[in-house]
Symmetry: C2
Subunit: 316 residues, 2 copies
Amino acid sequence: MSDTWGLKLADPLFEKLTVIGCGLIGSSLLRVARRNNLARQLVAADVSPAVCVRVRELGLADHATSDLAVAVAGADLVILCVPVGANESVGRTIGPALAPGTIVSDVGSVKGAVVAALSPHMPAGVHLIPAHPVAGTEHSGPDAGFATLFLNRWCILTPPVDADESAVKKLSDFWTAAGSNVETMTSEHHDLVLAITSHVPHLIAYNIVGTAADLEVVTQSEVIKFSAGGFRDFTRIAASDPTMWRDVFLNNKDAVLEILGRFTEDLSALQRMIRWGDGDGLFTLFTRTRNIRRSIIESGQETAAPDFGRHQSDPQ
Amino acid sequence: MSDTWGLKLADPLFEKLTVIGCGLIGSSLLRVARRNNLARQLVAADVSPAVCVRVRELGLADHATSDLAVAVAGADLVILCVPVGANESVGRTIGPALAPGTIVSDVGSVKGAVVAALSPHMPAGVHLIPAHPVAGTEHSGPDAGFATLFLNRWCILTPPVDADESAVKKLSDFWTAAGSNVETMTSEHHDLVLAITSHVPHLIAYNIVGTAADLEVVTQSEVIKFSAGGFRDFTRIAASDPTMWRDVFLNNKDAVLEILGRFTEDLSALQRMIRWGDGDGLFTLFTRTRNIRRSIIESGQETAAPDFGRHQSDPQ
């Protein structure tokens, strides 16, 4: 892992960056853009006046406004950092105010639906290049962001087949300078990859936490007390922003249902192994899954500290 | 959370503690027993001569041996720290060597099956008091242990109804001095509580990691690269010791199948909400689960650091 913070640029890549939506991701983007000199001028836009006030207090941008059309005027890069389901309405609002040559991008966890929502509102000459930084925490809002959120994380670009190459290159340079590794794929493939690496994991985490809450035979206080046995790992991602995740599932339905079908099928097989006492079958699976974690740690996408470093290890 | 390490005792609680099985839990127990002066003499026993060699190198005990019967002779506390499925054979081996008045305990994640496996081998006058410290990491072996593993974690005792009260009290004092909070319940209730807080979470973590490994449409390298989207949280517990977990599922079959049935039923309902676009239903569940995490953090069973503290938060 690099310990630098991406590239601190001598000359900014963009003249004016407008970030729409100043939650965890948007506010992190503003922070790293300022820190690494990614754009000469930073404009923050959020439909919530309270969020705009907080963005001003935190000094995250040169201007903060709830008027999205005003915010994008003259911008050469606009990044939508809103829940997936809000893109359509934002696109409709800002479309007429976008100048030709502007790059419009987003950070949504779903790409196919975002393209479908935004494309109709993009005027000729505007470059729509969807993106998805695979990074986040369970916290939300402008205070939750931090400049290193994207450092050493992957950012996936899903440019349309006829995308302007120099625009793709410029957006790719932007994410690289923010500290990310950039990968390009189609939006269809993205949505499948994220269904298994993110969406279905979130769904089953939400589900097990819900199941636990509903049990009559075990009290909520017992679930909380004894959560260190494994359950608490699930609660972190089951504490993620409800609006964002509702929109993800509604907008990546096909891929999520496809992967969920696989998951359920595999779970039934495991259930059967338990019922019939197939210890060898269980052991074989449990050994295989151990190797995958090793690969994730080796690739720098995870810490090797035991128990996520929750405990301080004692050398004696 | 307390920042002390349990109680450092002026006078040890026991004359001779024998720990059988020197993996993560057993070696942590030896470390905290030495550190907090919980027993005058520490004996480590492990059927693996290689583990005994390593225990000697690490200086974890006064003696280390592969002869379990020799190890327990004269001990007033014997704690079995072996995979659940190994208790029966260990019980048979050590039974004849146990002196009346000895307390025999264990650390297994399943209690009903352990009682059934050990009871027949306990001579008259020996106090079998099963226990389960709800603590652990994904790492295994004598090098993985550390003295603070049990600090501020819960240890559940499941004494039989006719248990000797002073023996229960002494074992409870032992775990308190090791830094744990102690709770008492029946073995049947323990097995249900742990099925939801530990066993089924591990099972679905193993399962999703297996499902991901088997996909043809998404490569293993993509799963690893983009695991920061949520998947990697599951890989930690899916990297836990395969032997231990095989035994847990084989020995807590009824409770695991019961809770798994609930989980699957709830998941089907969620799947249906996605298929039919029930955004309100999803939002309601996702909001409810957020509160449970808050309670776990407030109870001191989890860190509030975003993303398990994997990222350094940036104040600006």
